[in-house]
Every structure is written in structure tokens, then in C-alpha cells.
Symmetry: C2
């Protein structure tokens, strides 16, 4: 059974791998599971057929036989539970790795997304410059705490896990927004993630969508 | 083995049950697991002993023998995996319930928290009123999508699950901020959660911390 995921037909990031389908592609590549992709226009994402799969009208979704899932974190956890390689066998280490999955998405990502969204979409607002400073400080505080915890370790808790995978994709967005400057530990951590063969295959696959569209 | 969780010694919400320890208390009450609580001052949350448990200096944490966890979502999932009653037995239904856990924390909570934080902590900023309107619209869009999906169902996907538990605690924060006005479906859904005996026991336990401090 080949799972089907959804992704942007026309990614706003122009193939830089910042959209959330990248997380699912990377997880599937790590565990060696082939997959198909259904590309969606922004209009199609708001239509009833897609809203039945994803009530908030976003990507990615994941379909595998009778199962339909949304939320990139839940999809990555589902893949990690069905296949080896993304969660430790030891029960306590497994619970901690899942803890880092939630930390990536619920603690580290929100201030980064808020900074990015404000930078991009509120540049015509009178509050733009002053508010961006507030958000920059908030995001860097969280990144500083993450850097302090990581220290000289390669990964967040022992071997590479689904927690590292999600955290790296969150840091990709921070890097693209210039927020990783001054955090050499996090930059090196992200580089280790980007150096993984599975990451490279996933990145190439999403970039292919962008380049194919350019030449069509 | 009785797990130990951490909570605010002096909760900023004055016992209204909006802090994230409420999620963990509720989950433990649902599964009938007794627990101990270690209360922390704001100063203690930033000390090395607590930062070793929680790198971002927040509550709650969860300690059970050799296992130490942080992130309320991960703790609730750990409890749900170790005990019956918070996740369906069917594998696909279980994956969807975990999907709602991530949706509550990664899709629904961020715009609500952003609205609440702006309302509380940026009232001296020149952008306050105009920005609050933007955030109000953003939060209500997400709440509207959630309401549409819920429709006339009692719970998000079949029987009550850890996904409903987390979603209800997120909606508690929305309600406290006035964001549930105009969403009768979500108000009734939240009321069903608040009517559960386990919720009431958890709420009483966190309120007791506040009232005990008042009388001390």
C-alpha cells in the first residue's frame, strides 16, 4: 500500500523546502517507504473534497488505505510508529523523543512562525518595525534555550529521532528568516540534519515540483 | 509508582484552570492515576534544577521513576499510551485521535495564545487596537473551521479521546479571552468536557492551590 500525501502545487517558498510536506517526505525517506504526491492549488485546498481530509484547509495530508490523517506532526509520528528508525526501542527514550516532537511544534515553532508571518505579511502596518523587534527577541530567547540544551551533542537525545527531524524542519524556517545568526550550535545541528541522505532525497523531490512547474 | 508533576505555585490565572498543568491533571484523573504535585515559583522555574527537567523553563513536567518528560502534549500522550480510556483501540482511530492532539496544540492553540498575549501584554503599545483586530480575525477563522468540522457530533472523532481533552483545554483559553462568543457549537463542546467528573476533579485540585495560597 503506497501512501499518498498532499503538497502545494505552487509552493510559496519556491522550492526551499520550508513547507510542511517536507517533514513527511523526509520521514518517509528515512524509513524507506515509497509514496505518491497529489499536488493542490490554493483554490483546491479550500474546496470541500480537501476540507474533508483537512478541516483547516492546509497541506500535508496522508492517505493510506482507509486511514486519512492531517497535521504534519501526527503524520510523522504515525510513520515513526509503523516503521523502524525514527523512534528508540527503549520505552523511556521513545517517550522523550516524542516529547521533542511536541517541543518542536508547540514551543519552538510558534514564535518563529509569528516572526516570519509578521515580517512577510505586515510590512505595510504602522507597527511593523517595532513589533518585529519584540518577536525577534522572543524567538531568539527560545532558540537560545534550545541551543543551551543541545550543547555539544549531535542530536537532542541520543540517536537521531523523529524529534530531531521535526526540530530541524522548524530550524530551517528560522534560518531562512535570518534567526539562526548567532547560534552556531543550532546551525551545525541543522547542517547535520540536512546532510542526511534521506533529507537530501526529500529536498530534491519537493524542489522537483517547483522546477517542473517553471519549465511547464 | 506515583508520578510527580510540576505546576505554578502562584498561577497567573488565579485558579481558572488555564495553565498547562490542567491538561496533565485531567488526563491523570481520566485514567484514575494518583499523582503528586511539586509547586514552583517563577524564580525556581528559571533555576538549573528545573531547567534540567524543562529546557524552556516552563511547567508542567512529569517524573515517573527514571523517566522525566516536559511538554504537556507529550505527557498526555504518554499517559494515554500507558493507561486505557484516552485513545481508541482501533489503530486508525488511534492515529486520528493523536492527529487531533497535534491539531489542538499546533493549529488551534497558536492563534489563540497570540491573541491572549497581545491583549494582556501589549496594551501599552501603539499598535495594540489595530493588531488585536487582525489576531481576532485569525483566531476566529481557525475556530470557525473547527466548529464546522465538529458539527453536531459530541466529540471530534467518535468517543472522547486525548484529542478532545487537549482541544477542550485550548478552547478554555479561547473562552476566557472572549473568543468563543458566536461559536455555540464550540461552547457546547467545551461544556461537555467541563462536565466530565475527571475534569471537575482536576479543576478542583488546581483551584485548591490558589485558594490555599490566599489563606496562607
Amino acid at each position: 500500500m503506497i501512501p499518498i500525501i498532499t503538497a502545494f502545487e505552487s509552493s510559496p517558498d519556491r522550492g526551499r523546502g520550508l513547507a510542511r510536506d517536507m517533514r513527511v517526505r523526509w520521514a518517509l525517506e528515512e524509513v524507506g517507504q515509497p509514496y505518491d504526491v497529489r499536488l493542490l492549488s490554493f483554490a483546491a485546498m479550500k474546496e470541500p473534497a480537501h476540507l474533508a481530509l483537512h478541516p483547516f484547509g492546509q497541506i500535508p495530508t496522508y492517505e493510506e488505505g482507509d486511514l486519512a490523517l492531517f497535521e504534519s506532526g501526527a503524520i510523522v509520528l504515525h510513520i515513526a510508529e509503523r516503521h523502524g528508525g525514527l523512534l528508540p526501542d527503549d520505552a523511556n527514550a521513545r517517550a522523550r523523543a516524542i516529547g521533542w516532537m511536541f517541543a518542536a511544534l508547540n514551543t519552538v515553532e510558534p514564535p518563529i512562525v509569528e516572526y516570519v508571518m509578521t515580517k512577510l505579511f505586515e510590512c505595510d502596518k504602522p507597527w511593523h518595525a517595532e513589533r518585529l523587534l519584540v518577536l525577534d527577541e522572543r524567538a531568539r530567547k527560545t532558540l537560545g534555550q534550545l541551543s543551551h540544551r543541545l550543547g555539544d551533542a549531535d542530536w537532542l537525545d541520543g540517536t537521531f529521532s523523529a524529534g530531531d527531524l521535526l526540530m530541524a524542519t522548524v530550524l530551517l524556517r528560522a534560518k531562512a528568516a535570518g534567526l539562526l545568526e548567532g547560534f552556531p550550535i543550532l546551525s551545525a545541528y541543522l547542517a547535520r540534519g540536512e546532510a542526511r541522505p534521506a533529507y537530501k532525497r526529500a529536498f530534491a523531490a519537493q524542489l522537483e515540483v517547483f522546477t517542473a512547474q517553471l519549465s511547464s
